[in-house]
Structures are given as C-alpha cells and as structure tokens.
Amino acid sequence: MNLKNTVTIICLAGVLSACATDEALEEGLDVNQNIPAINVDNKGASGQGYNASTANVTGLELNQQSAYDNNLSAAEKLMQSSDFSDPSSPLSTRTIYFEYDSSQILDKFVPIVEAHASYLMRHPNQSLVLQGHSDERGTREYNISLGEQRAKSIFKMMQLLGVMASQINVVSYGEEKPIALEHNDAAFKLNRRVEMVYK
C-alpha cells in the first residue's frame, strides 16, 4: 500500500472548481497548495513500489546443498541392493498410499511397513525419513498437517514394532510436491502418500 515514491495530488485551481483540498488530504497523499503542480518528494526509489534495482538486492536465492544431498549416493547404493530392488521383496515398495483426508494405514500396506520396520531393527544405524504428502484438494497448511499425520501413523507403527525413534525423521510437504500432476482421482490417489526414504 505504501509506495516508495511520494505522489502528489493537487487541485488544478481555477480549472477544477469542485475539487477540494481536504479530499486530497483524506487520501493520505502529500498536498502542496502553495506551489501547484510540483511534486513534493521523490525519494529516488523511482516509484515502482519495489523496483527492479531493489529487487536485485533483495531477491534471495534459497537453494542450499545440505548433508541430505551428499548422502544420496550411499542411499542409492543401498536401494540398488537386492533387498530393496527385487520386486518380490516387500522392501522394494517404499510408498504407502492413503484414503482421502485419512491417515489410517490400510491393511494391505501393513506387511510393507512391518518389513521396513524389521529391516530398521536389524540395522540400528540405518535412518529413514518418512515424507508425508497429500493430494491437492483442501487447504495447503491443513494438508501439511495431514501429510504429517500420515507419516506419523507409520512412525508410530514402526515404534510399536520396536524401531528406535532416533532412526526415523518425519517431514511433511502437504500438497506441495505432487508425484502425479494431473487433476483427477487417479492422480489424487498417487499423491496421498508417505514416501520412505532411506538415508
């Protein structure tokens, strides 16, 4: 609302009889009655609100390399091992799908969660990130919470099965990272998910 530059609104005296100075004052703009048609102050910011030169200063690049990325190759190697890549192994399934607005683990996915829990118990130094997601329907922050609830459902089940809490991290991206970009029921089904990402 507040422009960087000051804009002057002045009555055109003589020409415009109906114009009253107090109207201009009400608008909160600088008014100069004595020197008509001169603007009072331009603070050099050249009046675009936030102009391009400011933008170059204030625009932030938020991309950071984190430890996460550096570990990818080790995790990738693990994912290529037969335990995780053999389609007959339950560990090859690392995405759990959910019903609409629900964080309840469906019966058909319980054996998958159990298999991963078992692996984590046999490998206490292995850590896992549970990434919760939702479909695009509903509000974004609610979906962040819903995605977290889904991830935590799996977290709690794994804990009950005996996995150490310290092995698991939970993060929710809500609807911000869809896997399917279409806008139909098939896409919604694929996006309501928790991804188990080994680190």
């Binding site: 002057t8 114009c19 922050e141």
Partner: protein, 422 residues
C-alpha cells in the same frame, strides 16, 4: 456478461499477464475514461486510461466504456459534449492529460457527472517517468473515493507464490510481491524447495513465510526494503501458517513439536512461545481478528476440518463457528471484522465462501472446483484467491457480493497463495 481485457507487461518478472473480467455487475455505474492527452516527443509505454478502466471495472462497481465505442476523445473540459455521452448511457466521463517535465510526468485528471454536466473532481498526480502505472492507480483511487465514498485498493500490493517444473525432481518456487493487479512483480525469494503461506506485516514492510530450503519447514520474516531476513521458527516437525498480530509484535503459527499440529503465539522480540491450542486433532491456519482479541483457526477435532475461534490470550475455550458443509478451512477476517472468508467444500468441490458474522449467513462466492487461499482487500470489498482454470493455477478476485470476478493469468507456471497487503 462484461468483457474487458487488457494486457500488462510486468517489469520485474518479465511475465506477461492478462486481466479478464469474467463476470460483471448489472447495477454498476457507466463510466467513460477517455484516452489521456499525450506529452509531445514522449512515447508512453503505459496506457493510463486503459489501466483506470481496468481498475474501475474490476471493482465491480463500474462498467468501463470500451474505447472503440467512444464518439469523441476530448482532452479539455470545454470539448466535452455531455449530451453525446448521455446518449450512449454514460453516467460519468473522465478526461486527462499527461505532460512531461524533466524526469517526471504530471498527470491531470478531471471527473465529470454527465447528467449534471458538472465537474466532480480534479487531481494532478506527479510521478517519476517509470511510475506511470502508479499514477493511473492513484487516479483510480481518487475516482473511486469521490463516487463511492470508500477507499479504493488500486495502489495496494499483493504477495503470492509461484511454482514451475523445470524437470522431473527440479522445481522452482518463488515468492513474489506485485501491484494488486499483478503488475510490477518482483521475486523476493527463490528456492528449489517449496515456499508457502506468505503473510504481510500490518505496516506492509515485512513478510512472514514458510520455506523448505533446508528440506524441513522453517518460518522466516523478511524486511522488503533491505532484503534482510530472520529465521523465527525452526522447531522439530511442522513450522507453518504464520499470521501477524494486528499490533505487528506477534505471529500466530502452527507447530507440531508437541506431537501434532497446534497453534502457538510467537512473540517476535524475544522469540518466546505460548501454546494456544492443546487438542490431539489438527489445529492450524490461525489468524487474528482485527482487534487482536480472537484467534480464528481450522481444526478437525470434530473429525472434519471446521473453523473455530478462541481468545488470543488463551483464557477461554474454542468455539466452533462453521456448520454449513463438511469442510470449512483457512478462514480470514475482513479488515472491518464483519466477515470471514474461507475455503468450503461441498460435493467434492472447493469454493470460496463468506460468513457474515452479523447475520450468520454463509454465501458461496465462487464455483470451484479447486479454489483456495482467499485474502481480503484492505477495504473489505474484494477477495483475492487462487483457483485452477483448465490445468493452470491462477489468481482471481471476486467482490464480496460474489458478482464480479476477474482473473489474473500468468503465461507460465502456477500462481497461488495470494496475500493482499493489509
């Protein structure tokens, strides 16, 4: 059905955008904004009259006469033949002239009542040459105030998020600020990880938002003038949904460090926390009433998401306020405190609705199917929101009576989560 369209070249973002009025009002004033007189030896890149026409028509209270229907293009009061404007049904005529002086333009505008044949308002706006759009918006504000007695929002600003798929697993998210019509867009934060939930400080100098740049959610407060920012919340779990208190000293936010999503109040000077909700359900999307006494939030404590209010000082319980439909979420108060806008779902479609707190009546303003993130204009007369049109996410505005709708379309990427500066 009114069809006015204008193309605007956005300086900051280099993104073409189009504003199209998709539905208009029947009882609006008819106003003819005549092309302004141009300065000698200066070719203007901005069509001031066209911007004013778009501003006024988009408000829902005016029908702007298309230039092709104008019989004459007067620049001086003496040249106006009121009878002719009356004959084509015009209530008001606006004329103007633009003069160059050094690095500035002087933009003179006169507003006339066609029936009374009398001048209602005259203003001169003086701006740097690259701020001619702003001059046009100031003139729109002056016309709006003179004819409706209410402050216009044409010089206000919005923030919003864009996302773009560069390749599989490579996305780009930006936080933009722009004029209310999407022009002069400037990215103030960019990341390959999601950015969410921008909220303006009450003085318009800072934005709070959520960034996943460190692979987990974190809330930042960024000062626009300097670009400096500060991380104010990076607790274990969710850090989401920041909302400034009306006094600018606190943020309501969502944290899940206690096990599930609850609303907390963060004091910005000491970064101290007070937990407001303590339910086992999802409590999120908190926002403040204009007097700062009440927190409005979404909770699924009744199984489905609904809106609740509770005292911001925590002394008192939560009270459910939405009962119409199975899904009512992400409420926002109007600046006058009389209305709450929200996302409402019915039959699987998500639309924008308004709850009138005086009458208790809930009105659906939009048709969906995937409308979200409504935000009131500072004058409480218009709501900006995000919607899906075909397969694109775009921003739209709708007047609080639901009658006038306007799309702001960007040529590329998805645009979402608009926040109108307070």
């Amino acid at each position: 059905m009114l069809s006015v369209s204008l193309s605007i070249y956005s300086l900051g973002a280099r993104a073409e955008l189009t504003i199209e009025i998709t539905e208009g009002i029947q009882s609006a004033y008819n106003i003819a904004v005549v092309p302004f007189g141009q300065p000698k030896d200066n070719k203007l890149e901005v069509d001031v009259a066209s911007i004013i026409r778009g501003d006024l028509a988009g408000s829902g209270y005016f029908r702007s006469l298309d230039q092709s229907h104008m019989l004459a293009l007067p620049h001086q009061p003496a040249q106006i033949k009121f009878r002719n404007w009356l004959a084509i049904g015009q209530d008001y005529v606006v004329i103007g002239n633009i003069k160059a002086e050094g690095s500035r333009y002087h933009v003179d505008m006169s507003l006339f009542d066609v029936v009374k044949k009398e001048q209602l308002k005259g203003v001169r706006v003086t701006v740097e040459k690259n701020a001619l759009r702003q001059a046009a918006h100031h003139i729109s504000d002056a016309i709006y105030k003179r004819l409706l007695g209410v402050k216009g929002v044409f010089t206000s600003r919005i923030a919003y998020i864009t996302s773009r798929v560069i390749s599989k697993n490579n996305h780009e998210y930006n936080l933009f600020i722009a004029d209310y019509d999407g022009a002069n867009a400037v990215s103030i934060a960019k990341s390959s990880e999601p950015i969410m939930s921008p909220d303006w400080s009450p003085n318009g100098e800072q934005l709070a938002y959520v960034s996943f740049e460190n692979k987990v959610s974190e809330i930042y407060v960024q000062t626009l003038a300097t670009g400096k920012r500060k991380s104010v919340a990076k607790y274990k779990g969710i850090n989401g949904s920041p909302s400034w208190s009306p006094d600018g000293k606190k943020l309501a936010l969502t944290l899940s460090k206690g096990g599930n999503s609850d609303v907390y109040i963060l004091s910005l000077d000491k970064l101290s926390l007070r937990q407001l909700t303590k339910s086992r359900a999802i409590d999120t999307e908190a926002t403040w009433s204009p007097d700062g006494k009440t927190i409005l939030f979404t909770s699924d404590r009744g199984r489905r998401p609904q809106l609740y209010v509770m005292p911001s000082n925590g002394e008192g319980g939560a009270e459910r306020i939405t009962f119409d439909g199975l899904y009512n979420a992400r409420g926002r108060f109007s600046a006058d405190g009389k209305l709450i806008t929200m996302v409402q779902a019915k039959q699987g479609k998500y639309h924008i609705a308004v709850l009138n707190l005086e009458t208790g009546v809930v009105s659906a303003l939009t048709d969906g199917p995937l409308d979200e993130s409504p935000s009131f204009a500072p004058n409480s007369q218009t709501i900006i929101y995000a919607r899906r049109k075909a397969n694109k996410e775009i921003l739209s505005t709708v007047t609080v009576d639901g009658v006038t709708k306007q799309d702001i379309e960007f040529t590329e990427g998805s645009v979402r989560e608009p926040a109108w500066a307070k």
